[in-house]
Subunit: 167 residues, 2 copies
DNA sequence: GGATTTGTTCAAGTTTTTTTGAACAGAGGG
DNA sequence: CCCTCTGTTCAAAAAAACTTGAACAAATCC
């Protein structure tokens, strides 16, 4: 007979911890981030003490590789910071829990780069559209490209407001 | 000898159309939507006349299945509407190009459901936390769960504002 | 400076997601 | 009515994304 607990649940996590981890796994999927990121952040969020990479590997039953890469991404997003925990060779991590910081990091890392690259692509598109010989067609292209520009302008306007509201 | 054009580029798309389609393929990926959705919306966006399912299949070189499912998703999101085009058994589609509508559909279909399911999960979490016997632990859980609630409250506050700004 | 521990990297394996295509349902025409 | 055409469905194939684990680098200890 198998273990009474499904293999996706670690023996090392209490029921509430498991629930919170699942909550975040769902949460980060909406943001297009992988499961392991949700697991790691979720466990840190519901742990009263900072955790080391090895803690995460053991409690979540994930590989060292996943834990390492997940932590890197979370650090880049500003969602996790290194805790001051002397007396140990290991690095310990704790979650950033201010919404402002989390949203800010996500915008900086995941949204802005796309808005920026979009801007340069639009410039190229405008050049291509100008090559069209048919005036009617050219007018149509220009109309649509202007629409695209107005969308992106709005996007760039909204982000700071969003961050301010969440501050 | 092979066709001189890469197989990812259709003979039927002009250079600018191909550029715009690629632009939207990138765009929808940020939103966690599949490539075909970006292709379909992108082509509709840069076409001056409504297109039928078969037009999409031929010009984008995708399967009927993809086109059908992609159109369904786009209709659900309110990103595409059926055009009035008599004199033909086929249905023709045109893109919704008002940012407000696009954002509204995305929020309604992709964001709200998660906020709603999160709300009920949080309720469950609160119940679980109450079962803890250690008062210190219980206090910690409650603190974090409150934090979670405040995040979601902010989320629900922000969405209408966002929609208003983009209107 | 060698041994040990911590953490990173990345090719290969696994899982998840997306796309395909063939079978099918339904509408319309003749 | 039967035949043709449009569009949907869904199981299987393909592609994309994620995870693993073993090799490696770097830091620390003694």
């Amino acid at each position: 007979m198998d273990s009474p607990v499904s293999k996706t649940q670690s023996e090392n996590l209490s029921f509430i911890q498991q629930q919170v981890v699942d909550f975040f796994v769902d949460g980060v999927r909406v943001l297009g981030l992988p499961r392991s990121i949700g697991e790691i952040y979720g466990l840190l969020f519901i742990s009263s003490e900072p955790l080391s990479l090895d803690d995460l590997v053991q409690k979540l039953d994930i590989s060292k590789g996943s834990a390492s890469q997940g932590l890197r991404t979370l650090k880049t997003l500003g969602a996790v910071r290194e805790a001051e925990k002397i007396n140990d060779r290991r690095t310990y991590y704790e979650p950033a829990i201010e919404l402002k910081r989390l949203v800010g990091g996500f915008i900086r890392e995941q949204i802005r780069p796309h808005l920026d690259s979009g801007k340069s692509k639009l410039q190229q598109l405008n050049e291509t559209a100008a090559l069209s010989n048919d005036p009617t067609e050219r007018a149509f292209f220009n109309e649509r490209l202007e629409r695209l520009e107005s969308w992106m302008k709005r996007g760039r306007q909204v982000l700071p407001i969003l961050q301010k509201i969440l501050g």
